[in-house]
């Protein structure tokens, strides 16, 4: 075997703390290595051409590139060696950047370590075999989880691309947070006027199957062929019959139900359609508050309903769907303000969240768009906004910036002035984050045209004084403590991962960060992909995002799905397990351990043997580590290869 080793400087990224030339020179001593060189940027066009040239000139059988992490450029260089006529698996990478040059200061130690890492790559390469992918069919339907603006956008774009879409939303209507907003920055146009038509499109699109009040229960399979089980909760109303006339709501005597849509500003009826533009516009009974379902009495809605849609004994159901790709768009939830005891969150009725304030501003909200404070229904004249509540605060384990609250606070201050011209608004802020098109101009307008008083400093405590709220904060620019007597305090509660996000991530087999936000494949270059093929992200489930960014991501995720579906067949990753029939004793241990059901038991001349279904195997190697006979080996990561790496490190 003839091996070539290419050591990359990555400008000074590697070259600065690793003697790349010496690594190349030392690599010549490794077995089978016939060619080495060091190159400034291996991944650049001349860098790749150099590799191709060297393969051709020296008739190399395999190549090692010592450079950055394989998680970054392994696919790049695989294509390079393929262009030179080699099998793409006759290639190994040594990570001498992320794992060496960027973390060690001692050049000598780094260089030594880089040589060793190159050495183990050579040993592994010596045992590599050409591998060839198998093709399999792809199911060109897509599942979108979450019907906020991001999920809606993804669903519509996929459907317009002529693909069938299954949209799963856990609430009884789609729309997400945006449906609850009054107006939206930076244009201050009415939220339901721009979102409403999109929601209607979802309802009417022949390619979209919407399941509301539903959650994903289980996901099996792999890219191109996912099997999904969806649990649909019982609305106690037959939605095929319900026309959304709302007569039941008018007559329902149980009027103290939790009003989730209005963020619990006020309450609603046990049978309920959350808002007039709801999609689907269907009634739902909250079993916790329905008198019939809790005490067996009432049943008024059933009597009144013109279509006889009420079904008190309805059960939840499980629906199965097959799809080829999945878009997660489950959004965010708000930080629980009651964790700030010093602000009286949850204790003082006139200390509310920004989202509650949106409902107070909204013409379709519980106050009909008249701002009335919850305690006594009075119109507030002095309103204090407090930014960064549950954001940028390590003491509540939320060190990140929620991104959109500076902007929505400015918006709410502007809207407050529109609603109550003789009001005064104060905004306590630490920094104003408004880095978007027309965003900073917008916050400036809040100050310059609408006279909002911006006070640079945090608030330490809020307490009732008479029927007012005393807000005690600091003005750090003035260098002093300040107090404002407010009628209403709006806390810009930060965004946190949607309830249940980690559990969903586990079902999707994607990663999530310590706060529960889903992890993208690469923060810059693969922002809507995940590390699980066929699963994409859209919107604020990945991290707090405003509407423009969420919509952009919805479209980006749809583009990724459509690109995947543009192929008729997918190729599997050939790094799969294979059974050596001679060694296999048919014990079935591998069959039981495989998380993907990729191994089946077959009969070979009367004896049980294991066989791997090539397109199903995901290449985890669990079976390989389990087999007592060493009979089932994961290609490209065989026992021999790993032990050769160990030997290279230990036995020289």
């Amino acid at each position: 075997m003839k091996i070539g080793v290419f050591v990359c400087h990555c400008g000074s990224n590697i070259g600065g703390t690793v003697d790349a030339a010496r690594v190349a020179e030392a690599s010549r001593e490794f077995p089978d290595v016939v060619f080495t060189s060091d190159t400034m940027y291996a991944c650049s066009e001349p860098g790749q051409d150099g590799i191709i040239q060297a393969i051709k000139d020296n008739q190399l059988d395999g190549v090692v590139v010592s450079s950055c992490t394989p998680r970054m450029h392994e696919p790049t260089f695989r294509r390079t060696v393929e262009r030179a006529g080699l099998n793409r698996f006759m290639f190994e990478m040594a990570n001498i950047r992320e794992h060496v040059s960027w973390i060690g200061k001692d050049k000598e130690a780094n260089t030594n370590k880089a040589i060793e890492l190159t050495g183990i790559a050579v040993e592994k390469l010596r045992r590599d075999q050409p591998l060839f992918a198998k093709q399999f069919d792809i199911n060109k339907r897509v599942l979108v989880i979450g019907g906020g603006v991001a999920g809606i956008q993804a669903a519509l774009d996929c459907a317009d691309g002529d693909r069938e879409v299954v949209l799963v939303e856990r609430e009884s209507t789609i729309g997400g947070k945006m449906a609850k907003l009054d107006k939206t920055f930076p244009t201050v146009d009415c939220s339901s006027c721009i979102l409403g038509p999109k929601m209607v499109d979802v309802a009417q699109h022949p390619k979209i199957q919407l399941y509301a009040m539903a959650e994903v229960e289980e996901i099996g399979g792999y890219v191109g062929n996912y099997e999904v089980k969806i649990r649909r909760k019982a609305p106690y109303v037959n939605w095929d019959l319900c026309t959304g006339c709302g007569l039941c709501m008018e007559k329902c005597p149980s009027k103290k139900s939790t009003d989730r849509f209005n963020e619990q500003v006020g309450s609603t009826t046990a049978i309920n359609i959350p808002f007039p533009q709801a999609i689907p516009k269907k009634a739902v009974i909250d079993p916790k508050f329905c008198i019939k379902l809790t005490k067996g009495k009432c049943g008024i809605c059933a009597k009144i309903c013109p279509t006889k849609a009420i079904v008190f004994d309805q059960r939840e159901e499980i629906i199965s769907e097959s799809v080829g790709a999945i878009v997660a768009a489950t959004g965010y939830d708000l930080f629980d303000i009651s964790k700030y005891g010093e602000y009286g969150g949850g204790r003082l009725p006139d200390v509310i969240t920004g989202l509650q304030y949106e409902r107070l501003l909204s013409a379709s909200g519980p106050t009909g768009g008249h701002v009335k404070r919850p305690s006594d229904g009075k119109e507030p004249k002095t309103i204090v906004f407090v930014q960064c509540v549950g954001s940028r605060d390590k003491s509540v384990d939320r060190p990140y910036c929620s991104g959109f609250c500076c902007m929505y606070t400015a918006k709410q201050a502007i809207l407050t002035k529109d609603h109550i011209p003789d009001s005064s608004s104060y905004v306590f802020y630490m920094d104003i984050r408004s880095p978007g098109k027309m965003y900073d101009e917008f916050t400036r307008r809040a100050m310059e045209e609408y006279g909002t008083q911006y006070v640079r400093g945090r608030v330490s405590m809020i307490y009732p004084q008479g029927d007012k709220l005393m807000v005690r904060g600091a003005d750090t620019l003035m260098g002093t403590q300040v107090e404002v007597e407010a009628d209403l305090v709006v806390l810009a509660a930060g965004a946190e991962a949607a309830v249940g996000a980690p559990q969903l991530a586990e079902k999707l087999r994607i990663s999530y960060d310590k706060y529960g936000f889903f992890m993208e494949s690469h923060p810059k270059l693969r922002p809507v992909e995940t590390n699980t093929a066929g699963v994409y992200l859209a919107g604020s489930c990945q991290g707090p995002k405003d509407i423009p960014a969420s919509v952009a991501q919805g479209s980006a995720a749809a583009a990724k799905v459509l690109a995947l579906f543009a192929k008729d067949k997918l190729e599997n990753d050939p790094m799969i397990s294979l059974v050596d029939m001679k060694r296999c004793v048919g014990c079935g241990k591998c069959v039981r351990v495989c998380p993907f059901g990729a191994i089946k038991e077959i009969d070979v001349r009367g004896e049980p043997k294991a066989e791997v279904i090539e397109t199903v195997c995901q290449g985890c190697g669990l079976c390989t580590a389990t087999c007592p006979q060493g009979a089932i080996q994961l290609s490209h990561f065989t026992d021999n290869q790993i032990l050769a790496e160990v030997n290279a490190l230990c036995q020289l």
Partner: protein, 185 residues
Amino acid sequence: MEVVDIHASCDHEFIAKVEEESEQKVRLCYQCGNCTAGCPYTFVYDIPVSQVMRLVQAGQKERLLSCKSIWLCATCESCTTRCPNEIDVARIMDVLRHMARREGYVAEKNVKKFWDTFLDSVEKHGRVFEMGLLATYVAKTGRFWTDMELGPKILPKGKLSFKPHEIQGKDKVAEIFKRFREMQQ
């Protein structure tokens, strides 16, 4: 207003010392002002507590050790409890006070005298002798008891003893002070 050369005047050794003694990282402070917002004593401070934090970050030793604020902090723990970065601000105030004492800065003489008198009393008797404490304080400050009007309120209640409550182990307590002073040297 004075122009500060932030490079030349930054006393890195001082910052390191504050961090070491308080076991806090002053760089964590992002100047939100929450401590100042909550500090009940801001109205008598010459430097609000968040600016004390800023001055520590900037290594402005002289200004800090000579300020009044560090003597007027009551260790009420409001700042420590509410700091978003979990900085024990009250402890930093304490440490600055320790340093000021060591280096002979006293911006609030009477406060220091009161505390010193208190500890003298403990050292002497093992427990605080309230009446003696007041008498000594008055003698030390050379100020007539400013709380004169309280006399008629409290004396008839028979609460203030004219005799110290000596304890058996008062030598042991005195010993603590002695060893502490030896250790300081």
